[in-house]
């Protein structure tokens, strides 16, 4: 038996499942996730759906920001585009859900590419500012284009159906989200392993060198924007199904910052980033909810204090992560795994 994992070819180095051990754990995890709706409350299922949607969105953002190095502060606006596109395609154009879902992804990808055009000339800071502009312009359009988006009042979402499944049923929506999360993860992982993924990383690490060795900067930057927005659009379509009523308030710049924060906490530039980041974020959110309602009922005079607790804690978490753990939980996870791999003979 070999004393470790030794790669003898590039193909084995790039394999998704490095060992049978990982594969078994993954299958177990999938089985548990599939059985989960029968074990937990409806409220928990809702949260799991939200978390799944956030994971899809974070995969997109991770691809754009973590792998290609293009900071986006407008991700939630793109999710909004997907949500509205899907809702309008079902409600107005009466398309079946199975068609509307990918189409809303494609529409969002198109919008994302339009706002990705400045990346031809801009990098870093300037691109981040351009995406802030995208965020404001998109939300403004949603809020003011009354005839299409219902303006400030928002839209009621017609529940999508797919054969025997009706997605106003939480459990059905859970399975749909679950499947798409799995699909999106596989897709992201495969993109990263491919030529495009390597081009993204090359652009992130040193774009001039990348250009010199023949990477078409504009093409790959735009591609990164498109894929990222596509995933955002799919996440948005699911979010619309989940929320049942969508307004522009679900897609503010604060949500964009939230998604970026999840990615940073998870560790930008790792495929596990979205899972760790979203898990950390949602667990912390639940804990805070319990704590603040508990404190609020114990000290009803100071209820406003505990309402704002969430913002303060999340802000501090972001700052503390950036100062003390800038590579996020994925990096920490790998350190821990590397330590235990050789245990008890770590010397």
């Amino acid at each position: 038996m070999p004393s470790g994992v030794f790669h003898e070819s590039y193909a084995s180095d790039e394999r998704i499942f490095q060992t049978w051990f990982v594969k078994i754990w993954l299958i177990l995890l999938l089985l548990v996730m599939a059985a989960l709706p029968f074990m937990v409350s409806n409220y928990m299922i809702s949260i799991l759906i939200e978390a799944g949607i956030a994971i899809i969105a974070c995969h997109g953002l991770n691809l754009l920001t973590g792998y290609t190095g293009q900071i986006s502060l407008g991700h939630s606006a793109f999710i909004g585009v997907g949500a509205y596109a899907c809702t309008i395609l079902i409600g107005r154009a009466h398309l079946p859900f199975i068609v509307a879902l990918p189409m809303s992804g494609l529409i969002t990808a198109m919008v994302g590419m339009v706002f990705g055009i400045p990346s031809l000339r801009l990098r870093g800071l300037y691109l981040a500012i351009a995406t802030i502009a995208a965020q404001f312009i998109i939300v403004f359009t949603i809020r003011r284009w009354d005839s299409l988006t219902g303006g400030v009042d928002g839209l009621f979402v017609d529940p999508g159906t797919l054969g025997p499944f009706h997605f106003n049923d939480r459990v059905h929506l859970y399975y749909l989200t679950f499947l798409i999360v799995a699909g999106a993860t596989l897709m992201t992982k495969n993109i990263i392993r491919s030529r495009s993924g390597r081009a993204f990383v090359a652009i992130r690490d040193r774009y001039l060198a990348a250009e010199v060795i023949g990477v078409n900067l504009f093409k790959y930057r735009l591609m990164s924007f498109a894929i990222s927005s596509f995933l955002a659009g799919i996440a948005g379509a699911l979010l619309a199904q989940h929320l049942e009523v969508i307004t522009h308030e679900s897609f503010t710049i604060h949500r964009s910052v939230d998604y970026l924060a999840m990615c940073i906490i998870g560790g930008l530039g790792h495929i596990t980033c979205a899972f760790f980041g979203v898990a950390f974020w949602f667990i912390l959110e639940r804990i805070l909810e319990v704590v603040s309602t508990g404190l609020g009922s114990a000290f009803p005079d100071h209820i406003t204090w505990f309402v704002s607790l969430r913002e303060i804690v999340f802000g501090s978490v972001i700052i503390l992560f950036l100062i003390f753990e800038p590579d996020g939980l994925s990096a920490r996870w790998r350190t821990i795994r590397a330590y235990w791999k050789l245990w008890p003979f770590s010397y």
Partner: protein
């Protein structure tokens, strides 16, 4: 004067007044960027905190406005120093995304603290008289005139400060070449701290002025993002650019409200951002910004 011209001037002058406040806040932005290369997205929160402190001292504690103004300035200096020392200094040399995110994390903390202390309501804050003064048919609120006057005074003050004051010259030297300035015996750390202090102070003043115009609420912090178009238009690292950009953006905002509103209602909310995207595509380093030249 013809009605058409009057209509134009009305919006133009109001825009100029608002623009001078933007210019003041943009000055803080540029100052931090120029000396420390940090894009401070928490600028709007500085503004909000300053406005709230001044408001609560004046109204809740019934202090004289000038006394509370002075105390607010002192508090802003402390705030600027604390933020620079505790949050930003550990991140020197980290990638851009960390620095941007940390200022965004700060916005969460500040917003939470403000809601915790002062609650969520929009409060009125009227120091300056509101009655409009008539200039040959153009009605301008005294509030706007006061804002314009104070902002312009401060802008002139800082122009002289950077030109003649010793610390002002230090700051320009550090912005120009950090290591060279350091070898001339200038304390770069102190310059960083001073930049943050000045930025916090000018944004507090801006916050108090805007708070008088629009009321003091958590939404005040959006002004910090609204200043971005001004900064980009003028060039991220140009003080003159910040002033001109601020004035232009203020005027554009009001003129778009005056002329484009019938076609697209409330377009003035995003018009500066649309202009900003165009500027970014055509001339990303703005009117007066230094172009980054990459050499292999």
């Amino acid at each position: 004067m013809t009605g058409e011209f009057l209509y134009f001037m009305q919006f133009f002058l109001s825009g100029l007044a608002m623009g001078s406040i933007y210019a003041l806040i943009a000055l803080g932005f540029v100052l931090i960027y120029k000396s420390t290369s940090i894009l401070n997205l928490a600028q709007g929160e500085f503004l909000m905190v300053g406005a709230y402190i001044c408001l609560s001292l004046t109204i809740d504690f019934k202090l004289n406005f000038f006394v509370s103004f002075i105390i607010t300035m002192g508090a802003s200096v402390l705030l600027g120093l604390a933020v620079e020392r505790v949050v930003l200094r550990p991140l020197i040399g980290e990638p851009i995304i960390s620095v941007i995110m940390v200022t965004l994390g700060l916005t969460y903390v500040f917003r939470g603290l403000v809601i915790m202390i002062w609650g969520n309501d929009i409060r009125q804050f009227n120091i300056f008289p509101l009655e409009p003064i008539d200039f040959w048919g153009i009605k301008l609120s005294q509030l706007y005139l006061w804002s314009m006057g104070i902002s312009l005074l401060l802008l002139v003050f800082f122009a002289f400060y950077f030109k003649y004051a010793r610390t002002g010259i230090y700051m320009r030297a550090v912005a120009d070449h950090q290591t060279a300035a350091q070898s001339m015996g200038i304390s770069v750390k102190r310059v960083f701290a001073i930049s943050w202090c000045i930025a916090a102070v000018v944004s507090s003043i801006g916050g108090i002025l805007v708070g008088n115009i629009a009321g003091v609420g958590v939404d005040l912090s959006y002004i910090g993002l609204k200043v971005l178009p001004a900064v980009i238009l003028g060039g991220l690292d140009s003080i003159l650019g910040a002033i001109i950009g601020g004035l232009v953006v203020g005027v554009l905002e009001f003129l778009s409200a005056g002329y484009l509103d019938p076609y697209i209602p409330a377009i003035n909310e995003v018009f500066p951002f649309i202009v900003m995207v165009l500027v970014l595509m055509i001339k990303p380093y703005g009117l007066f910004g230094t172009e980054e030249i990459e050499r292999v």
